[in-house]
């Protein structure tokens, strides 16, 4: 029942915070979010799952309660964790706390509603990762959209309405498509299943129980369902060309929401791809591996090129997420332990690092009120700690060894290069070029914003241009003259701004040095998938 307790804690917290007075909301939410965080850490530490959740074997924290019977299908409350979902649940709780702390400074109105929605979002995300019944899963899947919609639409930037509606409509249409795709399979399975239990469906599909529906042969049905599911999840990931909602949503969303959006919401898409497409229909995935790999490689390179063209720090990180998620897809296609395990590890790693980078951008934005690369320079002098975190996060994003960012990508490359789909070495080698482009745009952005002589231009009320380059440089070689008028506008970040950055960075480094902390359980959950999927 511990998993129900976890979801329940988030939900109760959401209600409590929602009705609390605004002035206490931030601290209450932060304090409350420590409860699910502590619980998930406890669950992580005592995790004893052995196998893949959909393919039988021992799960952790599993509950199966018969709920209602709907026609020929029983609906069960079936939740449980394996080595793939456990790290993602922990990631959700960590990032929720980080996002709440990151919201203290920028969120200044309707706080209780904001934090209430964030906790509700946490409950939905944990639910998506924990659910093992399609109905339960779909309810949580859709429930994620609701708080996200309001968080962007109410607390967002100038074009928040457009961004929120685009996000909502786009992902909802995707949900419809995947829903149809899934039910095509359900009907194809006919009497071989009597519930929407995901493990039962996965095992039935893998043992070839699919029969023709309405004159459509099972093989065709499989491929059609695969395409529908893939398209539905691809929007969430997002895979190019379904990605255009993402930069709009990120740019308009308040930064703490971006932390969750990039950190966890995108992983919901890749997680679903892994669970549905790659676990339930492995033969289709293997048959069309090269085409899927093409989508992955295009996402990596095209996403990175788009990031290179941006001037807004948030857009840079947003597009780079498209690029990074491409690696996840590439790893999944490989069907090797490093490929699929690496893809899962990359989900965790990218969640932490993109969260870290978005939070850094947020801290800078809080004081400069601009995110444009061209509007600021020399921030390192004024915000030394934030700068250090930004630099560390950016290098982790570039795949610096001894950070999780390196291992996530490296595992994927290792797993994919020798994979047995046609052209695997070529796809891998081309995708790997992403590590050069990512270094290009992040180094460029850092050089422009963090280094050089200090100066900020912003239209934020009360400031205007702020420059201060008067500090002594090296041995008087060249010191910039500067005005001191608004020097006090830019100030170092507060401790509660830095805390989430430090926590995320610590996790990134710990996972980079001791990846077994999560890779061990991921490997256990991934192995059955590879062994059983061998046929192709």
């Amino acid at each position: 029942m511990i998993l129900e307790l976890l979801i329940g804690l988030c939900l109760v917290g959401a209600v409590v915070v929602f009705v609390a007075p605004n002035r206490y909301a931030s601290k209450l939410a932060a304090g409350w979010s420590l409860l699910p965080l502590a619980l998930s850490v406890f669950m992580y530490a005592t995790f004893d799952g052995q196998s893949n959740a959909l393919l039988g074997g021992q799960l952790a924290y599993e509950t199966m309660v018969s709920w209602v019977s709907l026609g020929p299908y029983a609906l069960n409350w079936h939740v449980g964790l394996d080595g793939i979902s456990m790290p993602l649940v922990a990631l959700s709780t960590v990032l929720t706390t980080a996002a709440i702390l990151a919201a203290w400074t920028p969120i200044e109105e309707r706080e209780s509603q904001f934090y209430g929605l964030v906790l509700f979002l946490e409950a939905s995300l944990v639910g998506v990762f924990a659910a093992l019944d399609f109905f339960v899963w779909f309810v949580f899947w859709e429930a994620v959209l609701v708080p996200m919609f309001f968080l962007v639409a109410i607390w967002g930037g100038p074009r928040r309405k457009y961004a929120a509606i685009k996000f909502f409509v786009y992902t909802n249409v995707a949900s419809l498509v995947l829903f149809i795709g899934f039910f095509a399979l359900v009907f194809g399975l006919g009497n071989s299943i009597n519930s929407l239990d995901l493990p039962a469906i996965a095992q039935a599909l893998r043992t070839g129980q699919l029969s023709a529906v309405g004159g459509v042969a099972p093989e065709t049905l499989k491929v059609a369902a695969f395409v529908a599911l893939f398209a539905g999840f691809a929007v969430k990931v997002p895979v190019v060309p379904f990605h255009t909602w993402l930069p709009d949503a990120h740019v308009e969303a308040p930064t703490p929401v971006s932390v969750l959006l990039a950190g966890v919401l995108l992983k919901v898409g890749t997680y679903a791809l892994l669970r549905f497409n790659f676990t339930m229909l492995p033969d289709v995935a293997r048959q069309y591996a090269a085409i899927i790999a093409l989508f992955a490689v295009v996402s990596v390179i095209y996403g990175a090129l788009l990031a290179l063209a941006q001037q807004d720090l948030k857009r840079i990180v947003a597009y780079s997420s498209v690029s990074s998620m491409g690696y996840v897809i590439l790893g999944l296609v490989a069907y090797t332990v490093y490929g699929v395990g690496g893809a899962t590890f990359q989900m965790i790693s990218h969640g932490l690092i993109s969260g870290l980078l978005f939070a850094c951008v947020g801290v800078i934005y809080n004081t400069t009120h601009t995110r444009m690369v061209g509007d600021m320079s020399g921030m390192a002098d004024r915000m030394p700690v934030t700068t250090s975190m930004f630099v560390a996060g950016a290098f982790a994003y570039m795949g610096l060894p001894l950070t999780s960012g390196f291992l996530g990508e490296y595992f994927v490359f290792l797993g994919t290069f020798g994979a047995d789909f046609p052209g695997a070495p070529w796809f891998t080698a081309i995708a790997m070029f992403g590590i050069v482009i990512v270094a290009g745009y992040l180094l460029f952005a850092m050089q422009r914003t963090l280094f050089g002589s200090f100066g900020v231009e912003t239209d934020h009320a009360g400031s205007g241009a702020v420059t201060d380059g008067g500090e002594r440089t090296h041995n008087g070689r060249r010191a910039n003259g500067g005005e001191h008028e608004h020097g006090d506008v830019i100030s170092p970040a507060a401790a509660h701004d830095i805390a989430p950055l430090a926590i995320l960075l610590a996790l990134v480094i710990v996972l980079g040095i001791a990846p077994e902390i999560s890779f061990a359980m991921i490997r256990d959950a991934v192995s059955p998938l590879l062994a059983a999927g061998g046929g192709g």
């Binding site: 332990v337 610096l400 290009g440 460029f444």
Partner: protein, 681 residues
């Protein structure tokens, strides 16, 4: 590993990880406590690198006693059905030698920094010492690596440290830009390296350097067709030999980047924006050596592919000449040294490619000492000149800075290759190896000739530098009244000055050949070692697999060639620049000078690729994305918006309305699907 399998592992090997961990500790201390410490972290760094040096010497002594070590010490990831990723130590003559070089130079540079950074009242000292500590840790770990994965890890980390330290003075515009360029250019090379590492894993299932299950051994077995595990390797559609050549060339990408070889050399001159002790440590003696060291470390693999070797040699010979020609016209003393560094690493590559493994390692060692000396000497001059670096503003410093002058002169004689200074012996041996193998291979011969021509240029630019800096009349007020130097500056100069003078005696091949004495100590040193990773084995492989054969030729003859060219270059410099008021003779080169000062427009085309082409494609992608990809999305939605204009009233902004609609929609969907699926029948 019969040699290591003695029942008691030497105690020196058990504490060997501390060689790397001590500087890591100094990094942590400087980073978190540096601002509270009296010297802002310098003392922690000096203590740590001093400790590393002592431990390295101890390891060297143990290795000299015939004990080696090749063990995993930390497993990052283990997978039952696939390969493991681990960190381990490989302690043999090569790595022991390199450990001593790196820790010694790091120790001296830390000491020198007291004078160069602390005494000059620099801000940001904790950051500086943290960077140095992290660098030393990474570099030593790189040297200790027993497998290519670990090498890559620390290869990248030294790149990070290089970025941090080049950009140390981040308030100015040039250093951050130079740091970015250095990281990007080397990253471009590392991309190929990473593909190579991944491909080596995919091919061999391992990336260890030494032992029966190491990838060079497996590759050798595969080529020999002797069955075993190496019998049926995946070679991705190529012949085994062809695929191994591809793998070697992929790894070479990283080598070209880090060791600043053509065409990826362009970052190194810019990297001189960093503090001069950093230039000495990272951009001359150690990090730049990482590429060459890597080739030496996996030489058993390169020796299998004559094509890869020939490319290594040719690139090396070309770079040696190309860079030396640019050094001739530079005004900034650090720029001369930067191009000279590129050129000297070219020699090492030439040596490796020509089959002169020992010669290349020898030159790596002597160069580390004399180039660190020259950079630190230049640093001393820069302190004295109140941070001016233009040689035309100097002159006449000889009498004001005698210690600096004589040590710098020793380093210059070594660089120019004048007998009996260190560089003579090592460069001469590289050229000798290239010549004897080149007589049977035209490509190698071409590489040799380029390397030989570069000797003349080296002699010229070296003495032009010495004469302009120290001789003649002082040309500026600062040069007449230089800043005085402290003991922390002079001590490293003296130590390195002695080394630059005598270290060449470790391997006097021409003398040995002429007299028959057994004084080729480095040859003897590198001949022993673990099975499959020693110069004796490499020699056999070169002959049997790569088909290298050496012509009979006296080393004395080759030595006479190169020494006379070096003297000619030095003599020309002396003729042109020795007066009290030397002229700008390079002006007479006319358009050629322009070409040389602009570095053959190498920077221009690379910047063009990175900026115009790179951002051009990026902008075009962005327009395509906004216009076409997102255009389609918006187009679809405006069609539906047009038809559903009235539905817009749904957007009331009232939370409960949305929630109601959402729930209703979900229910309708379920009911619809349920009806279609016949749930309610």
């Amino acid at each position: 590993m019969a040699e290591t399998a003695t029942s008691t592992v030497a105690f020196a090997f058990e504490v060997a990880p501390a060689i790397a961990i001590l500087p890591l500790a100094s990094f942590v201390i400087a980073l978190f406590a540096g601002k509270y410490l009296p010297k802002r972290g310098a003392l922690a760094g000096i203590t740590a690198t001093g400790g590393s040096l002592l431990l390295s010497l101890w390891v060297m002594l143990t290795v000299a006693g015939g004990a080696y070590y090749n063990e995993e010490i930390y497993t990052l990831v283990s997978t039952p059905d696939s390969f493991d990723l681990h960190f381990g130590l490989l302690l043999d003559p090569l790595s022991a030698l390199m450990l001593v070089i790196v820790s010694l130079v790091a120790f001296l540079v830390h000491l020198f920094s007291l004078g160069y950074m602390n005494d000059e009242g620099e801000p940001g000292l904790p950051r500086y010492y943290a960077g140095l500590g992290l660098f030393t840790f990474s570099m030593l770990s790189f040297v200790l690596s027993d497998n290519l994965f670990m090498s890559f890890v620390f290869f990248e980390l030294v790149g990070l440290c290089s970025w941090l330290l080049i950009g140390h003075w981040y308030r100015e515009d040039a250093p951050p830009s130079a740091a970015k360029k250095a990281f990007l250019v080397t990253r471009f090379g590392d991309y190929f390296f990473l593909v190579g590492v991944v491909a080596i894993f995919a091919t061999f299932g391992t990336a260890t350097f030494a032992g029966a299950e190491s990838f060079p051994t497996l590759a050798e077995e595969a080529l020999a067709g002797s069955g075993g595990a190496g019998g049926e390797l995946p070679t991705f559609g190529l012949s085994a030999q062809g695929w191994f050549t591809v793998l070697g060339l992929l790894v070479l990408g990283g080598v070209l980047g880090k060791s600043a070889q053509f065409p990826l050399h362009t970052w190194l001159p810019d990297a001189m924006e960093g503090p001069t002790p950093v230039s000495a440590l990272i951009h001359a003696a150690t990090m730049v050596a990482a590429g060459v060291y890597l080739v030496a470390r996996m030489y058993g693999f390169y020796a299998l592919s004559p094509t890869a070797l020939a490319i290594v040699a040719f690139v090396g010979g070309f770079t040696a000449l190309f860079a030396a020609s640019m050094a001739v016209v530079k005004r900034d003393v650090k720029q001369v040294l930067a191009y000279s560094t590129i050129s000297q690493y070219g020699y090492m590559m030439l040596g490796l490619g020509a089959g002169g493994y020992v010669a290349a390692v020898f030159h790596l060692m002597t160069h580390a000492f004399f180039k660190a000396l020259l950079f630190l000497g230049a640093g001393a001059v820069i302190i004295a000149m109140h941070h001016r670096q233009d040689m035309w503003e100097m002159g006449g410093l000889k009498n004001k800075l005698p210690v600096t002058y004589y040590t710098f002169l020793a380093g210059s004689l070594a660089l120019a290759g004048i007998v009996p200074f260190a560089g003579f012996w090592s460069k001469d041996e590289v050229l000798y190896e290239a010549l004897v193998h080149g007589l049977n291979d035209p490509l190698l011969l071409a590489a040799y000739l380029m390397g030989l021509t570069a000797v003349f240029f080296t002699g010229f630019y070296t003495f032009r530098m010495v004469l302009l800096t120290f001789h003649g009349e002082p040309r500026t007020h600062t040069a007449r009244n230089p800043h005085s130097l402290g003991w922390s500056v002079k001590t490293p100069l003296v130590v390195l000055g002695i080394l630059a003078t005598v270290i060449g005696l470790a391997n006097m091949t021409p003398i040995a050949e002429a007299t028959g004495l057994e004084i080729e100590f480095l040859h003897t040193w590198l001949e022993h070692g673990l099975e499959g990773v020693n110069s004796e084995h490499y020699g056999e492989v070169l002959e049997t697999v790569a088909g290298y054969s050496a012509a009979e030729l006296s080393p004395l003859l080759a030595a006479v060639f190169s020494l006379s060219l070096a003297l000619a270059g030095a003599g020309l410099a002396y003729r042109l620049y020795s007066g009290d008021r030397p002229e700008h003779h390079t002006d007479r080169l006319g358009a050629a000078k322009r070409l040389l000062t602009d570095n053959y427009y190498q920077d221009e085309y690379q910047v063009w690729i990175a900026q115009t082409l790179g951002t051009g494609v990026a902008r075009a992608s962005d327009r395509f994305d906004q216009g076409v990809v997102d255009g389609v999305v918006n187009g679809v939605s405006s069609v539906s918006l047009f038809s559903g204009d009235r539905v817009r009233r749904v957007q009331t902004g009232i939370v409960s309305n949305y929630a109601t609609l959402l729930t209703l929609g979900l229910v309708a969907l379920l009911v619809g699907v349920g009806l279609a699926g016949g749930w309610f029948l």
